[in-house]
Structure formats: structure tokens, C-alpha cells
């Protein structure tokens, strides 16, 4: 029977993987996926918390679960906008590699 700790470990792992993806991968799309992964890590731990900390009435804390839905929605919106920008970028510069994006500096 997995405890809260297990869930938190998993979500922590997810979060770290996402962060590493952001830090290490060169392709903006992959980086973007890493970011989504981080959000989902948060979702996982939220749900876990809401399950394992029932309120006084014995029901799970619904605030967290509401927040989860909002996060999913927002993530979707973010992806929509993000992909649009990336596509425009690709049209303009024929590249989706981060190291090509350094005209603005210093």
C-alpha cells in the first residue's frame, strides 16, 4: 500500500526529470515537454495531498483537485500559444534549437 511519501517521491522525480530536460535538451519542443512534465509532477503531488489529508468532514480537500483541473487547462493554453510561437520562430529562422537564439544579449 503506497503511502503519501511514495507519491511525493515520484512527483519529485517527475519534476526533476522535467527540469533536467529543460536544462539539457537543445530542442525547444523537447524543452517544452519538460516544462509540461514539471506541471504534471505538481498535479500528481496535489492529488496525493488531497487524498491523504482529508478535511474535517472526512472528504478529500477539493481545492487541490480543482487546482489540478485549472493547471491542466492552463497547460493546454500554454502549449497552444507556445507551439504557435515556436512554429512562427521556425518559419522565421528555420531552426528550433536554443543555441541559435542569441541575438539579444548583454
Amino acid at each position: 500500500m503506497p503511502t503519501l511519501a511514495h507519491y511525493l517521491y515520484v512527483s519529485g522525480a517527475l519534476f526533476s526529470i522535467g527540469l533536467l530536460g529543460v536544462l539539457l535538451r537543445r530542442n525547444i519542443l523537447i524543452i517544452f515537454m519538460g516544462l509540461e512534465l514539471m506541471l504534471n509532477a505538481a498535479n500528481l503531488s496535489l492529488v496525493a495531498f488531497s487524498r491523504f489529508h482529508p478535511g474535517l468532514d472526512g472528504l478529500p480537500g477539493y481545492n487541490a483537485q480543482v487546482l489540478v483541473f485549472f493547471i491542466i487547462t492552463v497547460a493546454a493554453a500554454e502549449v497552444a500559444v507556445g507551439l504557435a510561437i515556436i512554429v512562427a520562430l521556425f518559419r522565421a529562422k528555420q531552426t528550433v534549437h536554443v543555441e541559435d537564439l542569441d541575438t539579444l544579449k548583454f
Binding site: L23, L24, I31, V98, D102, L104, F106
Partner: protein, 608 residues
């Protein structure tokens, strides 16, 4: 006319004259001269009148600065007031009389010169300042006019300002006097801090002196500091260098300021504070030594000068040395004041004669270009002889009485210095006769000497007027009229014989040596070069002060500025320049820094 108002009229008439000349004088020469001489004459008459009055009980006084401080329990009230006592009345008479004569003489001397109005304005300003010194009733007022005579001397020495030598001379005169005033002002501060008063009356009335009983060292220091003022103004060693250079000014100026009156102000100052000095014996010793050394060294230098005016200048220094020595050794200030009195007349006379000679020689001052002038300008010769004899202490001439009196006192109190001054007497005779012989006897040594002409009457009359007092001013009946001096007791018996002998030796040797010498038969570089003191000062000013200041200004630009301004600003700008390289433009670098920031922040938040 009463004794309340008279001093103020005497004091301010010359100032008014100076102001008027300054504004309108440039348009008419007679007006300038007339105003100046008029103001001097008014002063002269009033002074004589005042002199014959008994000392007034009360005098007018106006507040100049008046502040009270409740914290320090001290009041600072600096009035502008006058002292009318025997001393000041005597000085008034001397100053105004001589001033009147010299002013008159100037008409002739300056006839052909430029800046006529400047000259007379300066003279009137000087007269005002000098009378201010004489009449001052407190230290600050005296200091004020002390500075003002410095200013007028600056203006008058620099009359021929287009000559580099004159320009340098006036600058030097003012600055050297400032150095003396540095001490003078400090002395005033010392006295005030201890007694809380600045009035001569309170300080000399014994009330002031009593305060010092606790701390004689303090009083000694204070007196010596005030004496610095004398050293500067009366050209004592080591601040004497400015006086010979001040001969760059017109000759009447030299005779009035730098022989008769202004340089005597230092002696007058000592006379004013004589009671305080008596309370500080150690200070008196120092003063005596400075006076004695000055009078001897200056005489030595005088023997080797070739400029007619410089010879007289050094003799002035030497005579002032006598007076200072007298102040230190005699029982009353009158002894030195007596010499000041006689000296004022005959030294002024000598300078005016020199001026007449210079005019006759078309402004040639080197005595070795003169000669045989007795035929060309007999009157001048005759009168100058009177002055010379008075200076060299020939019996029955004024100088003889006053100088011997000082020497007697000196021999009694400071034997060593006394005998030094005795030797000086011989030297005096020597250089005086040297001067007279070379200038008037022998044969002409140049065209100017051949074509020299006697001076106009306007110059000769003042000479005649001065010749009389130079002759008789020392006689007892006059002495009794002006002074109450007593002979020292226990004077060595052979003093007067020795003096007479030295006088004779000086006269004869000089006459024989120089009777028909083409050039100076004896040459002693040490004396000719004024004991190298001027060179020492030049070196100090050039190398110590100049170089030091240059180093400091370099340091200001390259050390202070560097460390206070340049380096900090450069550091800030540079670090900004470096910091912006974090902004390398790569997203992942940013994300990486971001992550570091997160770690740092969380670590800081949790583990501290």
C-alpha cells in the same frame, strides 16, 4: 577744536584725501599733490597743537565688533578708539611732520614720473594707516592698520610695476610682512585667550600682567609672538630681506615708509607693550639678541653695497636693530623712542639727499658711477654730510646722543651685545663716510656724474627743514621736551672714549681708502652677498615650497583623486561591465542560472 575730535581729524583727513585722489586725482596733478600735502599739513598742525595740550582724560570710542557669549563667559568687544598719551602724541608729531616734508619733496621728485595720482593716493593711504597704528588703543585696531600700512607699502613699492624687480619687491614685502603678522596675530590671540581683553590700557595697567603670574612661560611665548610683528615690520633678522628690495620704490617712499616711519612702527609696538615685556624677562633676552645681531650684521652688509639706496637701507636695518636692542635693555621705552626720533629725521634726510643725487644723476643709483658731485650739487652735499655725521654718531650731532644712550644701556645689561653694538658704531661711521666720499669726492666716474645738476628748490627746502632737527634733535633741551630718559648707572668708563676712537677710525679709514678709488678696493663676497641670506630664501622658496607644492598638487591629481574618485567609479563601472556578461542570451544558460537561484534561495530560506 578740542582734544576729543582732533585725533579723529588727524586720522581721517588723509583717508578722505586718498579717496578723492583715487576718484578725481588722475585728471590733475596739482590737485593730487595739493590734497595729499594739505591733509598731511592739517595733520601736522593739529599734532603739534595736540602735543602741547595735556593728556585728555577721556577719548571717543566706537564699537566695531561687539559680541557676548554666554557659554564661554567671554565678551569680545573690539572698538575703534584712540589713545592720546605722551607716546602717541610724540609719534604723531614725528610722522606728520616728516610726512608733510616728504610729500612736498615728492612734487619735485615725481614731476616727470607716471602714475602721479596713484603715487599720492598711496602716500595718503599710508599716512592714514600709519596714524591708525599710532593712535590705536587696542591690539586688533593696531593689527588692522598694521595690515593697511603693508598694503600701502605694497602699492608704493610697486609703483614702477612694469619693472620686474619692483613687481617682485612689492610682492616679497607684503608676504614677508604677512609672515611676521602671522606671529603677531597669534600673539594677540594668546593674550586675549588669557586675559579676555584687547585694550592696551587694561593689559599694560598691571591688571593684565597679573593674570600671567600663574604661567610666565605663556606670557613669554605670547610676547615673542607679538615681537614677530616687529621682526617683520621693522625688518629684523631673519625677516629683513624685504627692506633692501623695497628700495625699488620711488625714493621719497623709501625715505618716508622704509626709513623714517613705517619701519619704526615695530619699535613703536614694543614701546606700547613695554610694561608687558618687562614682565617677561626671557622674551626680552631673545629680543635683545635679535636686535643686537641685526644691528651688527646689517652694518657689515652695508659696508659692501654699491647701490646708494641699498647702503642706506642696510643702515636703516642696523639702526632699527639698535632701537630693538634698546627696548630690551633700557629701563624705559623712551630710550629707543629717542633714537627713533632722531633717526627718523636724519635717515629721512639721507634718503631725500640720495633722491636728490639720483635725480641729478638721471636715476643712476650705482655709487661707482658717481663722484665729485660736491661741485655739481653743493647744497645736497652739505646737507647730506649733516645727515651722515648724525648717522655715524659724530659728537654734537643728534645721532650721537641717542645712539650712545642705547649702547650704554646695552653694555650695562647685555655686555656681549653691548660691545657688539659698539663695534657696529665704528662700522656705521665707516660705511657712511664711504658713501659720502665715493659719491661726492674723488673725480667723476661717468658722463652722468659730469653732467649732474643741482635739484630744484621744492626739493631742497624740505632738505633744509630736515637738516636742522637732524643736527639738534639730540640736544638735551629737546630731549627734555620730548622724553624723560635717565642714564644707566655703572657705565664702563672707557665706553665713550672707545666709541669716539672707533668713530675716528671709521671715518679716517674710509676717507683714506675711498678718497680717489676707481673701484672698491676691498671686496668681501660674504658681505657683498648679504651673508647669502637672500639666496637661502630664494632656494627655500624655489625648492622647498615650490617643489613641495608641486608634489602636493601632483598627489592631489594622482593620489587623492585617484583613490576617492577614479578608482571607485572605475570599479563600479567595471563590475557593471562584467555583470552584464551573465546576460549571454542563451535560454538554457538562463534556465541554469535560474535553477541555481532557486537552489540558493531555498537553501538560504531553510538552512539558515
Amino acid at each position: 577744536m578740542n582734544t576729543l575730535i582732533a585725533p579723529w581729524i588727524i586720522l581721517f583727513t588723509p583717508l578722505a584725501a586718498a579717496a578723492v585722489i583715487l576718484f578725481v586725482g588722475r585728471h590733475s596733478k596739482p590737485l593730487s599733490a595739493g590734497l595729499a600735502i594739505g591733509s598731511a599739513a592739517v595733520g601736522c598742525l593739529l599734532s603739534w597743537w595736540l602735543f602741547l595740550q595735556p593728556d585728555p582724560e577721556e577719548v571717543l570710542r566706537f564699537p566695531w565688533i561687539a559680541i557676548g557669549d554666554s557659554w564661554l563667559q567671554m565678551n569680545l568687544s573690539i572698538p575703534i578708539g584712540v589713545t592720546v598719551d605722551h607716546l602717541s602724541k610724540l609719534m604723531l608729531v614725528v610722522v606728520t611732520t616728516i610726512a608733510t616734508l616728504v610729500f612736498t619733496y615728492s612734487i619735485g621728485y615725481m614731476k616727470t614720473e607716471e602714475g602721479y595720482w596713484r603715487y599720492f593716493a598711496g602716500l595718503s593711504l599710508f599716512l592714514f594707516s600709519m596714524l591708525g597704528i599710532v593712535l590705536a588703543d587696542n591690539f586688533v585696531m593696531m593689527f588692522i592698520f598694521w595690515e593697511l600700512v603693508g598694503l600701502s607699502s605694497y602699492i608704493l613699492i610697486g609703483h614702477y610695476f612694469r619693472k620686474d624687480s619692483a613687481a617682485d619687491a612689492c610682492k616679497q614685502a607684503f608676504i614677508v610682512n604677512r609672515v611676521g603678522d602671522f606671529g603677531f596675530l597669534l600673539g594677540i590671540l594668546f593674550l586675549w585667550a588669557a586675559t579676555g581683553t584687547l585694550m592696551f590700557g587694561d593689559l599694560t595697567s598691571g591688571k593684565g600682567i597679573a593674570l600671567f603670574a600663574a604661567n610666565p612661560i605663556y606670557l613669554t611665548v605670547a610676547c615673542l609672538l607679538i615681537f614677530c610683528g616687529t621682526v617683520g615690520k621693522s625688518a629684523q633678522m631673519p625677516l629683513h630681506v624685504w627692506l633692501p628690495n623695497s628700495m625699488e620704490g620711488p625714493t621719497p617712499v623709501s625715505s618716508l615708509l622704509h626709513a623714517a616711519t613705517m619701519v619704526a612702527a615695530g619699535v613703536y609696538l614694543l614701546a606700547r607693550i613695554f610694561p608687558i615685556l618687562e614682565a617677561a624677562p626671557h622674551a626680552l633676552d631673545v629680543i635683545a639678541w635679535i636686535g643686537g645681531i641685526t644691528c651688527f650684521a646689517a652694518a657689515l652688509m652695508a659696508t659692501q653695497q654699491n647701490d646708494i639706496k641699498r647702503i642706506l637701507a642696510y643702515s636703516t636695518i642696523s639702526q632699527l636693530g639698535y632701537m630693538v636692542l634698546g627696548m630690551a635693555s633700557a629701563s624705559s621705552a623712551d630710550v629707543s623712542m629717542f633714537h627713533l626720533f632722531t633717526h627718523a629725521f636724519f635717515k629721512c634726510l639721507l634718503f631725500l639727499c640720495a633722491g636728490s643725487v639720483i635725480v641729478g644723476m638721471h636715476h643712476e643709483q650705482d655709487i661707482w658711477k658717481m663722484g665729485a658731485l660736491k661741485n655739481k650739487m653743493p647744497v645736497t652735499f652739505l646737507i647730506m654730510c649733516i645727515g651722515g655725521l648724525a648717522l655715524s654718531g659724530c659728537p654734537f650731532f643728534s645721532g650721537y646722543y641717542s645712539k650712545d644712550l642705547i649702547i650704554a644701556w646695552a653694555v650695562v645689561k647685555y655686555p656681549l651685545l653691548g660691545w657688539l653694538s659698539v663695534a657696529t658704531a665704528g662700522l656705521t661711521a665707516f660705511y657712511t663716510v664711504r658713501l659720502l666720499t665715493v659719491v661726492f669726492l674723488g673725480k667723476p666716474r661717468g658722463d652722468q656724474a659730469k653732467h649732474a645738476v643741482e635739484s630744484p628748490l621744492v626739493m631742497l627746502v624740505p632738505l633744509a627743514c630736515l637738516a636742522l632737527p637732524s643736527f639738534i634733535a639730540g640736544y638735551p633741551f629737546i630731549e627734555k621736551l620730548f622724553f624723560h630718559v635717565e642714564e644707566p648707572t655703572a657705565v664702563p668708563h672707557l665706553l665713550h672714549p672707545v666709541l669716539l676712537f672707533l668713530f675716528a677710525v671709521g671715518v679716517v679709514s674710509a676717507f683714506l681708502l675711498y678718497r680717489n678709488a676707481e673701484k672698491d678696493p676691498i671686496f668681501i663676497p660674504l658681505f657683498a652677498n648679504r651673508l647669502y641670506i637672500d639666496n637661502l630664501y630664494d632656494w627655500l622658496v624655489k625648492n622647498i615650497q615650490g617643489r613641495g607644492a608641486a608634489v602636493l598638487s601632483w598627489a592631489d591629481r594622482w593620489i587623492v583623486d585617484l583613490f576617492i574618485v577614479q578608482i571607485p567609479s572605475k570599479i563600479v563601472w567595471g563590475s557593471g561591465f562584467v555583470l552584464r556578461f551573465f546576460q549571454i542570451g542563451n535560454i538554457q544558460a538562463y534556465a541554469f542560472f535560474f535553477g541555481l537561484g532557486v537552489i540558493g534561495l531555498v537553501h538560504f530560506l531553510i538552512f539558515r
